[in-house]
């Protein structure tokens, strides 16, 4: 029976596009990872504190991107409140450190959990809506949170911003970017590993199923709404962790940097890297994080260039930088 059916259904005439070659891909991926790990280890011995500050910042962006990747890339839900959860993470861990004197691993976990919990609640409300309504509802929530950050003076310092005291672990105090670097690297790596595990697991499969077809997902026994809310909560958890990573090496936070612009910056990174792939999210964070740092001196150019990048990518490389390069190389290899 089985042999017969293979014969009955002829292969397509041309070679099948999209046929992955697992062997070679694993090899390049492994090599890239090894290279990346080596670079992360030697970096602090080679460079100045400023470069390490940039490295820390990029690692924070990586975690932010991974969070957005889970909800937009894996689950296909267009959420626009990432900066709000990031802010909740920063304030939570800052306050836990400032007021309660908690050691930073604990305050970090608390930041993730608080952001995640708020995310679950907002997700449960916002996910009653589809597509653009979800985008608009989360956009509204993000703006409202920024207002809260600006006006809840007693907690956030309001428009004066908040001084964050150094992260502590026992008698150890993190005072410089160089001291924060190992912490930030380890947390970022943990979050990357966590993302890979989630993505490959049953949960990750159910996310992608929801993204590709919610009716089919339902028919496969996946409770679609619960999957969406879970992804939303997880994404907020990531943003909260990213916020607390930021708090380990920063001394000051102002609500101005927690608005829609930051959400769009992270979105840009994920989209430019390539929606739906972890490599894309990480790569996008690095490439775009560097670009935005170079452009920091000239904010007007920065905006024009962000905008143009978004537009041009949507026009000619909607699947992101890495897919674009891969396609290009594939086309060149075929001649």
């Amino acid at each position: 029976m089985s042999d017969k059916s293979v014969l009955m259904f002829p292969r397509p005439k041309s070679d099948t596009p999209g046929l992955a070659k697992p062997g070679s891909m694993l090899l390049t991926q492994g090599a890239l990872m090894a290279l990346g790990a080596a670079a992360l280890i030697v970096l602090p011995f080679l460079v100045t504190g400023y470069v390490l500050y940039i490295a820390n910042l990029l690692l924070v962006f990586i975690v932010l991107c991974l969070g957005l990747h889970l909800v937009i890339g894996e689950t296909g839900q267009f959420a626009l409140a990432h900066a709000a959860f990031y802010g909740i993470g920063i304030y939570t861990s800052g306050l836990a450190g400032n007021a309660l004197g908690w050691p930073f691993p604990l305050s970090m976990l608390l930041a993730g959990l608080v952001a995640g919990a708020v995310g679950l609640v907002i997700g449960a409300v916002a996910l009653r809506m589809r597509d653009i309504y979800l985008a608009l509802a989360t956009f509204a929530f993000g703006e409202a949170m920024q207002w809260v950050f600006l006006n809840w003076d007693q907690v956030t310092g309001g428009p004066n911003g908040l001084r964050i005291s150094p992260a502590r672990l026992g008698s150890l105090e993190v005072l410089t970017d160089r001291q924060a670097y190992p912490v930030v690297v380890i947390v970022a790596l943990l979050m990357i590993v966590l993302t890979v595990v989630i993505s490959r697991s049953r949960l990750g499969r159910s996310f992608r199923a929801v993204r590709e077809s919610d009716v089919a997902a339902m028919a496969m026994g996946i409770p679609v709404r619960r999957a969406k809310i879970t992804a939303f909560g997880l994404s907020a958890f990531y943003a909260g962790i990213a916020g607390s990573m930021f708090a380990t090496f920063s001394t000051y936070i102002h609500p101005d940097s927690l608005g829609f612009q930051t959400t769009i910056l992270v979105l840009t990174m994920v989209v430019v890297g390539g929606l739906g792939s972890i490599t894309g999210a990480v790569g996008g964070a690095i490439v775009f994080g560097l670009i935005s740092e170079f452009l920091r001196q000239t904010p007007s150019y920065q905006e024009i260039i962000y905008g143009l990048i978004l537009i041009v990518f949507m026009m000619y490389a909607p699947r992101g930088l890495f897919a674009f390069v891969r396609d290009l190389m594939g086309r060149m290899a075929r001649g």
């Binding site: 009653r128 653009i132 309504y133 956009f139 009716v215 905008g307 537009i311 000619y316």
Partner: protein, 300 residues
């Protein structure tokens, strides 16, 4: 708060709310007409308003052109810019992938380009004020104080909306727009050129944005960030149902009045929050908005 004060605030809130609400209604109209015909929430609508405001400012102040030239020139420029964006950029985005999310991201891109461009020219550095079209004089309506400028704004906005609705309802091109919104396939089958209609819709939306800019600019300080006024437009559109044009207008007036009530009765600091709370409330309580139709069952 005595009863008299409450009455006074109510009157003042409604009067001021209708004036500013008429501008929100125009912006909401511009958003909804695009969404209805192409399912794209245009996140660059606010920057279209902002850019149009600066074009007018440039022509009026730096080129010293008379108002009767500046106004049509601004509207025309916004019309052309928006139509070209649809034709040159969004058509290509749709061809490359076609998912609405990609179109939305492209409009976000445009919003950044426009804002950056205005900053780059140097206009955006300092807040500027637009010379008033007419000398504002105070007028009392009941116990509410409004200015002649307010009345001009309200009248113009209402006239523009009336013209728009007339066009949408009775002209051939308006009918074609409605047809595309209801059933693009059937529209193509009777010979409607979708590309052309999409361009015109975007152009119109840009033109309306320009009118909103001309009306609002004398009342606010202009900065490169003034596009954030679009939040009010989105709030109005959502309250009205996002696919309903009359809904957008009613939503605009409602948001204007709510905003003034919040300012008068609660605190001026809370004004900024009003639209977001309105958006969230509507989305939670009645996701289809006040005028939105029922959500159809997806066919499987």
């Amino acid at each position: 708060m005595t009863i008299d004060v409450v009455f006074l605030f109510l009157q003042q809130g409604v009067a001021s709310g209708l004036v500013i609400g008429s501008v929100y209604a125009l912006i909401a109209l511009a958003i909804v007409v695009i969404f209805k015909t192409s399912e794209v929430p245009n996140f660059s609508q606010g920057e279209m308003v902002m850019a149009a405001g600066y074009i007018a400012l440039y022509l009026l102040v730096f080129r010293s052109m008379p108002l009767w030239i500046v106004m049509p020139a601004t509207i025309l420029a916004a019309y052309a810019g928006a139509a070209l964006f649809r034709r040159l950029v969004l058509n290509q985005v749709a061809r490359a992938n076609g998912s609405p999310v990609n179109l939305v991201i492209a409009t976000l891109g445009l919003s950044y380009v426009l804002r950056g461009f205005v900053r780059q020219t140097g206009f955006g550095d300092t807040p500027r004020s637009f010379p008033p079209v007419i000398e504002p004089q105070s007028i009392m309506i009941g116990q509410a104080a409004v200015t002649t400028l307010d009345l001009v704004i309200l009248t113009t906005a209402v006239l523009v909306m009336a013209a728009f609705f007339w066009m949408f309802k009775y002209t051939k091109i308006g009918r074609a727009m409605r047809a595309v919104g209801m059933n693009p396939k059937a529209a193509q089958l009777v010979g409607v050129d979708l590309t052309r209609i999409h361009m015109i819709v975007w152009g119109l939306s840009g033109g309306i944005s320009a009118i909103a800019a001309l009306l609002i600019s004398p009342k606010v300080l202009m900065t490169a960030d003034m596009g954030s006024i679009v939040t009010m437009g989105f709030a109005a559109a959502i309250v009205g149902g996002f696919t309903s044009l009359p809904g957008a207008v009613v939503g605009g007036f409602l948001i204007g009045i709510i905003e003034n009530f919040v300012g008068l009765f609660i605190s001026s600091r809370a004004i900024v929050l009003a639209p977001f709370v309105a958006i969230m409330l509507v989305l939670v309580i009645r996701p289809q908005g006040l005028f939105g139709g029922r959500v159809e069952i997806k066919k499987v």
